[in-house]
C-alpha cells in the first residue's frame, strides 16, 4: 500500500506549528504590520461558556502563528497577484498608502461642526475647528485610479458654514508645492513638515507669533510670546502657558 504522503505532511505541518506556538515565546508587536499582537488568553469558565475565550484563542492562534511574517508576505503577494489595490480600509497608491476617506459624510461633518458652534455659544469662548485633510486630498494624483475618495474640499466648505474653520488644506498644498513630504508613505500620520503646515494655519487665529528656529535657521518655528493665558492648576490663576509650565515644574 502506498504511504499517505499528503496526510503525513499535512499533519506534520499542523503539529509542528502547534508545538512551536506552544513552546516559543510570543511576540508583543508585529513591526511588519505596525500593530500589537494578541496575547495568550487566560482560561475562565465564564469566558469559555460565553465564547469569548474561543474568540481570543482564535485571535491568539492567528497572531502568534510561527513564521507569521512569512505567511503575511505570502498573503500580500497573493493579493498583489490578484490585482488588489486595497487592504481593508487602506488603498495602495503610487509609492504611498492611503486611508479610505469616503466614509465621511457631509451630514456628519455638519453635525460635528454644529456641535462645536453650540459649545462656543454656550461657553462664550471662541472655538476653532482644525479639520485635518487626509493624504488623499493632498496627493490625489498618487491615489489608485478611480479610487473611492470623499470630496474633502466640499466637506471642509460645509464645516466652514457652521463653524470658524482654520484653513489647513491651502497650507498643506503650499507645502506640497515646495516639495515637502507632508505625510508618511506607510501610514496616515503627517510628518514634521505636515505638522508645521498645520501650525502655520492655526497659529494666526490663536495669536501665536512665528519665530526663527535657532538650530535649523531656515525652518520657521513658534514662540509662546503672545500665547493667550490659561488657567494654571499650580497657581490657580490665569497666566501664560510658559509661566504655568515653569511654576508647575518647580512644584
Amino acid at each position: 500500500m502506498k504511504k499517505p504522503m499528503l496526510f503525513f505532511l499535512m499533519m506534520g505541518l499542523l503539529l509542528a506549528l502547534a508545538v512551536c506556538q506552544t513552546a516559543l515565546p510570543g511576540r508583543e508587536i508585529s513591526e511588519m504590520e505596525n500593530r500589537m499582537l494578541a496575547e495568550r488568553p487566560a482560561f475562565t469558565a465564564s469566558g469559555f461558556l460565553s465564547g469569548s475565550f474561543s474568540q481570543q484563542t482564535e485571535r491568539f492562534a492567528a497572531d502568534q502563528l510561527p513564521l507569521r511574517d512569512g505567511f503575511v508576505s505570502l498573503y500580500s503577494a497573493m493579493q498583489g497577484l490578484l490585482g488588489r489595490r486595497s487592504v481593508g480600509d487602506t488603498l495602495v497608491g503610487d509609492g504611498m498608502l492611503f486611508n479610505r476617506s469616503d466614509g465621511f459624510s457631509e451630514r456628519n461633518v455638519r453635525m460635528n461642526a454644529a456641535a462645536l458652534r453650540a459649545l462656543s455659544e454656550k461657553t462664550g469662548k471662541p472655538v476653532y475647528l482644525l479639520a485635518v485633510p487626509s493624504a488623499a486630498a493632498v496627493y490625489p494624483e498618487k491615489m489608485p485610479a478611480h479610487a473611492p475618495a470623499a470630496d474633502e474640499a466640499a466637506l471642509l466648505a460645509a464645516a466652514e458654514e457652521e463653524n470658524a474653520l482654520l484653513p489647513l488644506l491651502p497650507s498643506l498644498l503650499a507645502g506640497k508645492e515646495r516639495g515637502e513630504p507632508l505625510f508618511y508613505a506607510t501610514d496616515h500620520h503627517w510628518t514634521a513638515f505636515g505638522a508645521r503646515s498645520a501650525m502655520n494655519a492655526s497659529a494666526g487665529p490663536w495669536g501665536w507669533m512665528p519665530g526663527k528656529c535657532r538650530r535649523c535657521k531656515g525652518i520657521r518655528a513658534f514662540t509662546a510670546a503672545s500665547m493667550p493665558a490659561i488657567p494654571c492648576p499650580g497657581l490657580g490663576r490665569m497666566i501664560s502657558p510658559a509661566r504655568c509650565l515653569r511654576a508647575c515644574a518647580s512644584g
Binding site: 499528503l6 496526510f7 505541518l13 488588489r84
Partner: protein
C-alpha cells in the same frame, strides 16, 4: 450545562429511545403515535430556538423568555438528521440503533454537525458498528478533500465575501450591484461547498463516508436541475420525507402545486427565521411551478441560454436571500436596475476582477473535472498543489481578518 447543549442532548436521548420503542409497538397506531411524539419534540425544540422570536414578532408579541436566547449552532442539521432517523425506523427502512454511543456519534459527529451534509443513519450504520481503521488510501484522499475544501472556503469564498461587502457598499451603481451579486453567488457556493468537502475529508480520515452535497450547481440547465445539484442532502430530505409522502406529483396539478408550495415554504424557513428566507423559498416555488406547468414541453431553448436564464433566476434568488429584510431587498433590486454607473465601479471592477474571474473558472465543470483528472494522474503535482493550497490557506487565516460564518442562522 448550557441550555443549548441540554436541549440537543435531550433531543438525542429522546430520539434514540423512541427509535428503539417504535418497532416494539404492536399496533400501527402505537408506532405512529410514538413517531408523532418524537417529531413534535424534535421540531418543537427547533421551533422554540429558531422560530419562536419570528413567530411572536408576526403577532407583535415579545417574550422575556426569549430574550438572550441564542440558536444552538447547527440545530437545523441536527434535528433533520434526528427526524429522518425516526421516520426511517418507522418505515422499517433502517434498523433501530440500540447503542447510545453509536447513536450519539451519528447525531453529534463533529465534521458535519454545523454545516452539513445532512447524513442519514443508514449511510453511517455500517461504519458506526464495524469501523475499520482507515487505510492509507482513505487518509490520503481524506487529507486531499480537507485541503481542497479549506482552500475553497479560505482562498475563494472569503475574498469573494469581502468583494461582495465592498461592492454592495457602493450605493446607486448598477455595475457594482451586479458585480456584488456575482461575488455573493460564488461566495455562498464556495463557502458551503468548502465546508461540505472539508466534512467529507475529515469523515474519510476518521473512517466515515459522507454523501456529496454539491455537483456543479451553476452549470444547471433548469431550476429543477439546480436543486438536484445544490445542497443535495437537504433537497433529498425534503423530497423523501415531505414531498413524496404528501403525494408528490401524482395527484393532479392543483395538489402538486400545493405540495410544492409547502416544500419550498419550508425550505425557505429552514434557511432562516425571517421573511426574506420565506420569500426566497416562494421564489423557487414560483420558478419551479413555471417550469413544471408552463414551460415544460412547450418552449425549447438552446442549452447555453437555458443555463444563463437558470443562473439569472438563482442569482436574483440570492439577492433576496442575502438582503436584510424586505426593504433591504427593495434597495438591492433598485440598485440592480438603476441604470447608473459611477467611475468608482472602474476601481472596484479592477480591484475584484482577479478573484471574480478565479471563482468563475472554478464554477465551470470541465475545468474542475479536468483538474481533478490531472491531479489523479500526476501524484507529485497533486502533492505540490495541495501543499501550496494548504500554505496559502494558512497565510490567509493568519493575515486576513475577514472570515464570516454564514450558517449561524441555519
Amino acid at each position: 450545562m448550557h441550555a443549548r447543549c441540554r436541549c440537543l442532548r435531550r433531543c438525542c436521548c429522546l430520539t434514540g429511545g423512541l427509535g428503539v420503542l417504535i418497532p416494539r409497538q404492536k399496533s400501527k397506531g402505537g408506532r405512529r403515535a410514538a413517531l408523532l411524539f418524537g417529531l413534535i419534540c424534535d421540531f418543537g425544540a427547533l421551533v422554540f430556538y429558531k422560530y419562536a422570536g419570528f413567530l411572536l414578532g408576526i403577532f407583535g408579541a415579545e417574550s422575556a423568555l426569549l430574550s438572550g436566547l441564542s440558536l444552538p449552532l447547527g440545530i437545523s442539521f441536527f434535528i433533520f438528521q434526528a427526524a429522518g432517523y425516526l421516520i426511517d425506523v418507522y418505515r422499517k427502512e433502517t434498523q433501530p440503533e440500540k447503542s447510545p454511543v453509536a447513536f450519539g456519534t451519528f447525531l453529534f459527529l463533529f465534521p458535519q454537525l454545523i454545516a452539513g451534509p445532512i447524513v442519514r443513519y443508514g449511510d453511517l450504520q455500517e461504519a458506526l458498528h464495524h469501523r475499520r481503521r482507515p487505510d492509507g488510501q482513505a487518509l490520503e484522499s481524506g487529507a486531499a478533500l480537507f485541503i481542497a475544501g479549506l482552500a475553497a472556503k479560505v482562498l475563494l469564498a472569503n475574498p469573494l465575501g469581502e468583494a461582495f461587502e465592498q461592492l454592495r457598499a457602493v450605493p446607486g451603481d448598477m455595475a457594482c450591484a451586479w458585480l456584488s451579486l456575482c461575488a455573493y453567488t460564488m461566495q455562498i457556493y464556495f463557502d458551503f461547498m468548502g465546508y461540505s468537502v472539508m466534512a467529507m475529508g475529515l469523515g474519510r480520515m476518521l473512517g466515515f463516508s459522507f454523501p456529496r452535497n454539491f455537483n456543479h450547481p451553476y452549470a444547471a440547465v433548469s431550476i429543477t436541475d439546480f436543486w438536484r445539484r445544490w445542497h443535495m442532502t437537504l433537497s433529498g430530505w425534503f423530497r423523501d420525507y415531505v414531498y413524496i409522502p404528501l403525494g408528490g406529483s401524482r395527484r393532479g396539478r392543483g395538489r402538486t402545486a400545493i405540495h410544492l408550495l409547502i416544500v419550498w415554504g419550508l425550505t425557505g424557513l429552514w434557511h432562516g427565521a425571517d421573511w426574506n428566507f420565506v420569500l426566497w423559498g416562494l421564489w423557487y416555488f414560483l420558478l419551479l411551478s413555471a417550469e413544471k406547468f408552463v414551460l415544460s414541453g412547450h418552449i425549447r431553448l438552446p442549452l447555453p441560454l437555458r443555463r444563463v436564464l437558470t443562473l439569472l433566476g438563482v442569482m436574483l434568488g440570492w439577492a433576496l436571500f442575502v438582503s436584510p429584510g424586505l426593504s433591504g431587498f427593495g434597495s438591492y433590486l433598485s440598485d440592480l436596475f438603476c441604470f447608473r454607473i459611477s467611475s468608482a465601479s472602474l476601481f472596484w471592477f479592477r480591484e475584484f476582477a482577479g478573484i471574480l474571474l478565479l471563482g468563475a473558472v472554478f464554477c465551470i465543470p470541465p475545468v474542475t473535472d479536468g483538474l481533478k483528472g490531472l491531479l489523479r494522474r500526476r501524484a507529485w503535482l497533486r502533492l505540490a498543489l495541495l501543499l501550496a493550497a494548504l500554505l496559502l490557506s494558512l497565510a490567509s487565516l493568519a493575515k486576513a481578518s475577514y472570515n464570516p460564518f454564514l450558517y449561524f442562522r441555519f
